[in-house]
Structure formats: structure tokens, C-alpha cells
């Protein structure tokens, strides 16, 4: 199929649903999620890959959506914070964040949660150090870190 140089259609899966969006080559996945698809749970904090607030999963791997061009996501599966709760039931990591009081303003929270969700898929029962490593690229200005680490560890102990 002939593509570019202008805006082009791409097809991908977002939270399990197939979507086709028209994006300019320079458009980031973050802007596409927030502005084109209305998924504003993923936050824009630095827009330059330094804070982790826009962390989403692409084919299960945590990435910074602000550093990912949407056109590179053709055929891929993207998961965002909006896709975690199923049938009105929170994901274990979301529940752990509430139980451990792992957020204050909540602006970094979607990114922190996505980083830990990715960790738990490979490491069922993470240690504190595992969680620290997983969220070391996610800044929290309110300083909820101790509770974020506790939430990551306790989410590992829960079953969905």
C-alpha cells in the first residue's frame, strides 16, 4: 500500500479493540491516544521521554507514548490505563494502588500502574527491588514512592 508523505491511515488494537486512525507521520502515540481516540487517562507531563507519565504497553512492553510515533504502531496491540479494569472490576494493580494509598495528585498514577502491570506479567511475585526497577522511569512529584513500591509488591500477591 502506498503511504505518505502526509497523514496516513494505520490500524492497530487499543485495549483489545481494532481501530483505524489517520495520523501524520510526526504524530506521537500519546497525542493520538489523547486527542484522536479521547483516551486522556494517559498523561502528558514532559513530552520528551523524561518522566514516564505517558507509559503504555505495546505488545505487552512498557513504552513512553510521547517517544513513540503512532505510525510505528501499525498492527500492534496498545494497552492503556483505560483498558485495565474489566467488567467494572479493577485490575489487581489498581486495587493495590488504592489499598496502599500509592498516589496523591494521581497524575503520574496511570504511568506507574502500567509499568507495574508489565512487570507482573513477567515476574509474578516481584520483590521491592523489582518494583523499584520497574518504576524507576516514572517520576512522582508528590513523593508517593514508598506506597507505590508497596502496591507493586502487594499486587503480585493478589490473584485477579
Amino acid at each position: 500500500m502506498l503511504r505518505g508523505p502526509g497523514a496516513t491511515d494505520i490500524s492497530l488494537t487499543v485495549n483489545g479493540e481494532a481501530v483505524t486512525v489517520q495520523v501524520a507521520p510526526r504524530r506521537t502515540l500519546l497525542d493520538t491516544l489523547r486527542e484522536t481516540l479521547g483516551l486522556t487517562g494517559t498523561k502528558k507531563v514532559c513530552d520528551e521521554g523524561t518522566c514516564g507519565a505517558c507509559t503504555v504497553l505495546i505488545d505487552g512492553r512498557p513504552v513512553y507514548a510521547c517517544m513513540t510515533l503512532a505510525v510505528t504502531c501499525e498492527g500492534k496491540g496498545v494497552e492503556t490505563i483505560e483498558g485495565l479494569a474489566k467488567d467494572g472490576e479493577l485490575h489487581p494493580v489498581q486495587r493495590a494502588f488504592i489499598d496502599e494509598d500509592a498516589f496523591q495528585c494521581g497524575f503520574c498514577t496511570p504511568g506507574q500502574i502500567m509499568s507495574i502491570v508489565a512487570l507482573l506479567r513477567g515476574t509474578a511475585a516481584p520483590t521491592e527491588d523489582d518494583v523499584r526497577r520497574a518504576v524507576s522511569g516514572n517520576l512522582c512529584r508528590c513523593g508517593a514512592y514508598p506506597n507505590i513500591v508497596a502496591a507493586g509488591v502487594s499486587a503480585g500477591r493478589r490473584k485477579r
Binding site: 486522556t40 520528551e48 483505560e82 494509598d101 496523591q104 495528585c105 512529584r141 508517593a144
Partner: protein, 763 residues
């Protein structure tokens, strides 16, 4: 009938007198030993689900139909006259809908000036023009097409340079002006008669807030009403600012802040971005979004002033006999100065004292309040100096402090404290850290090149709150309640603790109380700053809930045909001697009713001084080869009256400690002197703490005794206290560990190594 009363409140170290409207009588404090269903219990945040699912809607997440995007052209020069602006090319770009600048924007009052686009721009990042376009990318491109003719003027960005004689004078009366002063006793004489005198200069660097949600607003004008969504700590303050800027009646302005992603003091009122968004919205008739980028946030949205502080302390017979404290703060283009001498004036009962705080203007971004403005900077100097004096006198630092920290009277204003348990904080903290293990000269660390030390420092702050603050409680016919107030939840848990207070007083389950806040259509709520939210709004909520409860019991008495005095409400159930009837059942018998309880905050006792107290203790190691500090344990003890929710209170203290850790160890704005540019206006080079910087252990303790004279809940604020003493405690622990005194925060490795070299040369 409402009546006017005089009130006296403290806000961020200053005392303000005002007239406030109150109604009825205040409630008495709950009886000692009263049983609470919610108050004092650890509770999950009532908005937790919204926040963890991404459904919480922040200002940044407001996308309105037909919305245009604004980007701001900012001065590339630290000081220049804007002589001419040519926007022809920018306006010709497809998708550009409007450009505003000093030659076409209407007058709009902002912080005492008549316009938001000044003829003389005075820092790199000051607003020169703004473009509204179909999308952000077009707006950015348009900025590049605007031609501005600048006449460059001499500038100064550095604090110490600005104080000196050769710096350009930015104001007609010079760059330095006096802020606060305080004098008591005879400092000169005490210094002359002292056995020991310590004299030292301390510095603190500029700290940037870096709230994760940048400042921003979305404005919509429907021809009648202006609605502004803004990430703010004070919706009513923004409304007032818009009223002055736009000259609209208050009834036509509505400001909304449902969720906000951190402010830490910097979002206290209207911003130029809110005015720009509103001007465009009214001119173009379309919703306008103006949200700052991270870089803009770091150059134009405020900071904690850098300071230079001289301390002179005198000691005699094991006591502090005099303190002299002079401070200069770089406020950039700010119009006020936070007071670093505040803690010096009030913390210790020292008879001879002299303090002066100077404001220094420079060609750098303005200060804005940053979590305990002035007190963080001042406590670093004061509490470091107290330890230096203790070391010189050869006495234990806590022993020396104890002699001056136990006074029941505020030494500055001469009034009694409503309550004070500072000595108790010392006792708890010393026991938790193991103060008896502290050795003069420190101990060996975990490796031969590592030294270990223990240090502490004290905190004083306001946080007593006061009027005006109002709330209403609407009870629906199904037995659910809506608590409505104009305050904000900036991440501190305001929604949760207010719901707890309301549920407790109403006799409802927590989940049956819904909180609506952050809206100027609600009853007035104060700024979420100065650690005053809970102590201001909480008592009003309690009165409103009591009012609603009394009305509900009256209704129940009628329906059940039982005297009201024999009824009580618990967990949403009306309990009589023999029966339990759900309130919803009673209300369903009264067709379509709405019960509304009202409450307002009553004034504080004008004869009392309301303060919060605390102390932090730190154990750490210093790598003497690299200068790296590893903070291992922080003990934070705070005396803030009754604790409403131990879970959220603990989180707030941990957060304060971690933000303090940034101030103490890594956070520092760099401005290039030649060009006036901020060199690290991003989260890569400006180092906020990460998860890996968290100390191995943070112990949080509260005295947790209701302040019986403070208000009807016995509560005081907690937002700011935990960021105040940490940096000084760290510096004191470093001095204990190594003998090296680092007098500049942050205590970077370079500064530690330099201090080690000086200490080594001395010994």
C-alpha cells in the same frame, strides 16, 4: 442571621486581619473520649477509583468541541524592550485564528500592572505574544513566523550580583528592598557578653516546583458566561483575577478545578495563560486551551527563591543568648518575598533577636509560593547554625534546643500558643532514631571510606486556618448526601477527609457521602495553601453536617411520631429505643424533599497563636571519596492536632520528606549569567527525586492530640510542615558524620567534597 465579626488569621507566616460573615454558633469540640465512626480512622481515598482508572478528569484532559490551541511566544532575552511586532506571516498561516500581543491586546490587569504583555520584558520566558490555532503544531509554527524587534537592555540574573554596586538597576529604587524585620532585646550587647559566637553564611538554590500537571487553562465563552477550567489551588482566586483582568461581573465567571495534578504553592491564582485563553475565547467565540509545556513550566511558572543568609548566634552558660539573621532572596520578577526569617523569629524563646529579610529583583522568572515558602530556606540556615553553635559550645544539639523550645508563648507576638508539643516531638524522634547512638565526630560507616552520622532539626509553621470557608450538605431522599464546598483537592486527600468529617457528623456511611468541590458555583472555599484547608473547611463541614442531621432527625420525629430527643442517626439508620428504621425509608415518606445543611467557619481566638510543630531526625552515610550522601533513615514527628486520616496523613509526610530530599540533595535551577537562560528547564537535568532516591526507611509519627483551642475539630494543617526541617537535619547529620559543614543546599557531591577539604585542612 449572618453577622460580621473580626478575624485574625495566619497565612504562610504572616498575620492578616479581616471581617468575615458568620452565622449561628460554632460547635463545641467533640467530648474527650467521643467515639468516631470515621474521624481518626485510616480510610482509602474516596476518589481512588477515579484516579487509578484514568477517569479522573484534569484540566489537561478537557477537550471541548471546536477548541483552539494556544501557544505563547516568549522572550529569548532576559531584558529587552519590545519595539515592534510583525504578525503578518503568522496570521497568513492556514489554521491560525488569532494573535495577541502588546499592540493589539486589550488592557488586562495582572499583578498590579495594566497589561499581560509588557513593553519591557524582564526574563527569558516572559510572554511576548500568543497564537490561537486549529492545532498545537500550527500554533508552534506560527510562533516562528512572528517577527519581534527587541532593544536589548542590560540584565542581571544572579542574586549576589544583583545586590552588588555594578549591577544594572531594575527598579528606580534599586534591586534590593526591605521585606520583614523583627527586633527584640539587645543583640549587640548579648553578642559582646557571649562566651561563644558563631557566624556563618548559608545559601539555598532555586527550586522548581515541577508539578506533573503543568499550569494551564481551558476557557469557553457562550456570549453570556465565561467558564474556565484551570489547574489551580484556588478557583475563587482565579475568578477574582479574571474579574480584574476582564472587568466582568463575578456572576459571569465560573472557574472549575475538579482534579489537579499538583501545585505545591505555584497555582495560587490567575495566570497569564488563563487570561490569554479567556481573551481569545471572548474574541473568537470558540473554546481555547492554553496549557504550558514542561519547559515553559520551568521558566515562567514560578520557583522557590534562591537565598543568601547571614547568621550570627551567641551562646552563654549553655543557652542561646542572641540570634541575628539577615536574608536576601532572589524573587526574579516577583512582587513579594517569602520570609526566611520567619522561623528564626518564632521558633525559639531567645531574648535578643534581630532579623531582616530583603527582596532582590533580577531578570529571572518570578518566585511563587513553594510549599512552606521562606521557611524551608530559613530553617536550613537557622537549624544549621544552631547545631554549629551547639558544637562550639560543646553541648548536645537537642539539649541546647530544649532550653528554648518549650515556651508556651509565641516569642514574637507574645500570645499563648493554642497548643504545643514540641518537646514531645523531640522525645519521640530521639527515641525512634536512637539519638543515644550519636557520637560527636560520627561513627564509621559500612565501609572504610564511609562515615555515618545522625542529625536533627526543628519545624515551626502556621496551619491554623480560619474563616472564610463555607459548605453545604444536601441530603437526597434516598439517604445519600452531597457535600458541596469551593475548596480544591490538590492531591492531599481533601475530598476524603471532608467526606469522613461529614459522614461522621451526619451518622452516614462514608460511601453515602459524595463530595463536590473545585467550583466557584459552590460555597466559598479558601486557597489550598498555607496548610489551611482542613482547619478552615473541616469545621464548616462539621457544622453543615450537624445542621443537616438536626433537620433529618426533625423529619424522622414527624414520620415516626417519636420525640426528636429519643432519636439518633447511625450508619444511615434512625435508631429509637426499640427500632431501627433506614433514613431512606423515612425520607421516602416525605415527597421529593431536599434537606440542606449549611455551615461556615467561625473565627479563631484572637488572643492565641496557632502553630504547628515538628522535628525531623536523619541517619545517613557520607562517602568521603565521592561526597555522595546516602540518607538511610528519616524520622518525621509532627504536632498538628488531631489526625483525621492516618493513612493520608502518613502519605503526605512521606511526600514532604521526599520533596525536601530533592531540595536538600539534588534540585537546583541553573541560569546562565550571560544569556539569562534556564539551562535545565526539563526533567532530565533538573533532578527531582526518583524511586531509587527514597531512603531505606521513613518513620512517620504524630503527637495526635486535638488542639482544643484551635477549632471545633481540634485540627491543624499538614501540607507544609514535613518539607521544612529535613534539609537542615541532613546537613547536621553530614556535619556529625564528617566534621564538614555544608552551608549551601542542595548538598551536592561537589559541595560536600569542598566542605570535606576545608574541614580536612582545619584538622
Amino acid at each position: 442571621m449572618p453577622r460580621v465579626v473580626k478575624s485574625r488569621e495566619e497565612f504562610e507566616g504572616e498575620i492578616f486581619e479581616s471581617l468575615v460573615l458568620v452565622e449561628g454558633k460554632d460547635l463545641p469540640l467533640p467530648a474527650a473520649g467521643a467515639e468516631f465512626t470515621e474521624i481518626g480512622h485510616g480510610r482509602r481515598r474516596v476518589d481512588g477509583t477515579q484516579r487509578v482508572t484514568g477517569r479522573a478528569r484534569y484540566t489537561q484532559d478537557i477537550y471541548l468541541p471546536g477548541m483552539l490551541h494556544v501557544r505563547v511566544l516568549r522572550s529569548p532575552y532576559p531584558r529587552a524592550r519590545v519595539r515592534r511586532i510583525d504578525t503578518k506571516k503568522a496570521e497568513a498561516l492556514p489554521g491560525v485564528r488569532g494573535v495577541l500581543h502588546r499592540f493589539n491586546a486589550p488592557k488586562a490587569a495582572f499583578r498590579g500592572e495594566e497589561t499581560i504583555f509588557r513593553e519591557e520584558v524582564r526574563f527569558v520566558g516572559e510572554e511576548v505574544a500568543a497564537v490561537a490555532a486549529d492545532d498545537e503544531q500550527i500554533a508552534v509554527e506560527a510562533l516562528g513566523l512572528i517577527e519581534v524587534d527587541y532593544e536589548l537592555l542590560p540584565h542581571v540574573v544572579d542574586l549576589e550580583e544583583a545586590i552588588g554596586d555594578v549591577a544594572p538597576r531594575l527598579e528606580s529604587d534599586g534591586n534590593v528592598s526591605e521585606g520583614a524585620t523583627h527586633k527584640r532585646g539587645d543583640v549587640k550587647r548579648a553578642l559582646k557578653e557571649a562566651d561563644h559566637v558563631v557566624e556563618a553564611t548559608y545559601r539555598t538554590s532555586t527550586q522548581l516546583h515541577n508539578s506533573l500537571e503543568t499550569h494551564g487553562a481551558v476557557a469557553a465563552w457562550d456570549g453570556e458566561q465565561l467558564t474556565v477550567y484551570e489547574s489551580t489551588q484556588h478557583v475563587f482566586g482565579v475568578r477574582q483575577g479574571l474579574r480584574l483582568a476582564l472587568r466582568l461581573p463575578l456572576a459571569k465567571i465560573r472557574v472549575i478545578c475538579d482534579y489537579m495534578g499538583g501545585g505545591f504553592g505555584s497555582k495560587g491564582g490567575v495566570g497569564k495563560y488563563s487570561i490569554i485563553a479567556s481573551l481569545f475565547a471572548m474574541r473568537l467565540g470558540r473554546p481555547i486551551r492554553c496549557v504550558l509545556t514542561r519547559e515553559e513550566e520551568n521558566v515562567a511558572a514560578g520557583n522557590r527563591s534562591a537565598t543568601l543568609q547571614h547568621m550570627r548566634l551567641a551562646g552563654k552558660d549553655g543557652r542561646i543568648t542572641a540570634i541575628e539573621h539577615t536574608s536576601w532572596a532572589n524573587v526574579g520578577q516577583g512582587k513579594w518575598v517569602a520570609n526566611p526569617t520567619g522561623p528564626t523569629n518564632t521558633l525559639y524563646d531567645v531574648s535578643n533577636l534581630s532579623s531582616k529579610s530583603y527582596k532582590v529583583v533580577t531578570n529571572a522568572g518570578s518566585l511563587s509560593a513553594f510549599r512552606a515558602p521562606g521557611y524551608v530556606e530559613g530553617t536550613f540556615a537557622l537549624e544549621s547554625a544552631i547545631d554549629e553553635l551547639a558544637a562550639t559550645m560543646g553541648v548536645d544539639p537537642i539539649t541546647l534546643r530544649r532550653k528554648h523550645a518549650g515556651s508556651p508563648k509565641d516569642p514574637m507576638v507574645g500570645k499563648r500558643y493554642s497548643d504545643k508539643h514540641l518537646l514531645e516531638c523531640y522525645r519521640i524522634g530521639a527515641a525512634e532514631i536512637g539519638w543515644q547512638r550519636r557520637r560527636s565526630g560520627g561513627t564509621r560507616g559500612s565501609a572504610p571510606h564511609r562515615r555515618r552520622g545522625i542529625g536533627m532539626a526543628t519545624q515551626i509553621w502556621g496551619g491554623g486556618g480560619g474563616p472564610p470557608a463555607y459548605a453545604t450538605v444536601h441530603v437526597n431522599s434516598d439517604g445519600t448526601a452531597v457535600l458541596t464546598t469551593g475548596t480544591q483537592d490538590i492531591g492531599t486527600g481533601t475530598r476524603t477527609v471532608l467526606a469522613q468529617i461529614c459522614a461522621d457528623e451526619l451518622g452516614f456511611e462514608l460511601e453515602d457521602v459524595h463530595v463536590r468541590l473545585g467550583d466557584t458555583d459552590n460555597p466559598y472555599g479558601p486557597i489550598s495553601a498555607g496548610s489551611l484547608t482542613v482547619a478552615s473547611v473541616g469545621p464548616a463541614v462539621r457544622i453543615a453536617a450537624r445542621d443537616a442531621r438536626e433537620q433529618l432527625l426533625g423529619a424522622a420525629a414527624g414520620v415516626l411520631e417519636t420525640p426528636k430527643s429519643e432519636l439518633r442517626l447511625a450508619s444511615g439508620v434512625v435508631v429509637t429505643k426499640g427500632a431501627r428504621t433506614p433514613l431512606s425509608e423515612i425520607l421516602s415518606k416525605v415527597d421529593n424533599n431536599t434537606v440542606i445543611g449549611k455551615g461556615g467557619r467561625h473565627p479563631n481566638d484572637p488572643d492565641l497563636s496557632l502553630r504547628t510543630f515538628g522535628a525531623h531526625f536523619v541517619e545517613l552515610e557520607v562517602d568521603v571519596r565521592t561526597g555522595e550522601i546516602t540518607v538511610e533513615h528519616v524520622v518525621a514527628v509532627h504536632d498538628i492536632g488531631r489526625i483525621l486520616n492516618p493513612t493520608t496523613a502518613r502519605s503526605q509526610v512521606e511526600g514532604g520528606v521526599l520533596q525536601a530530599l530533592g531540595f536538600a540533595l539534588s534540585e537546583e535551577r541553573f541560569v546562565d549569567r550571560a544569556t539569562g537562560r534556564v539551562m535545565n528547564a526539563n526533567l532530565e537535568n533538573y533532578k527531582v527525586p526518583t524511586v531509587k532516591d527514597v531512603p531505606a526507611k521513613i518513620t512517620v509519627k504524630f503527637v495526635d492530640r486535638p488542639d482544643r483551642r484551635a477549632n471545633n475539630l481540634g485540627v491543624k494543617g499538614l501540607g507544609e510542615p514535613p518539607i521544612i526541617p529535613t534539609a537542615a537535619a541532613i546537613a547536621n547529620a553530614v556535619a556529625n558524620a564528617t566534621g564538614a559543614r555544608v552551608r549551601h543546599a542542595p548538598l551536592t557531591r561537589a559541595r560536600v567534597l569542598e566542605a570535606l577539604a576545608i574541614a580536612g585542612a582545619r584538622s
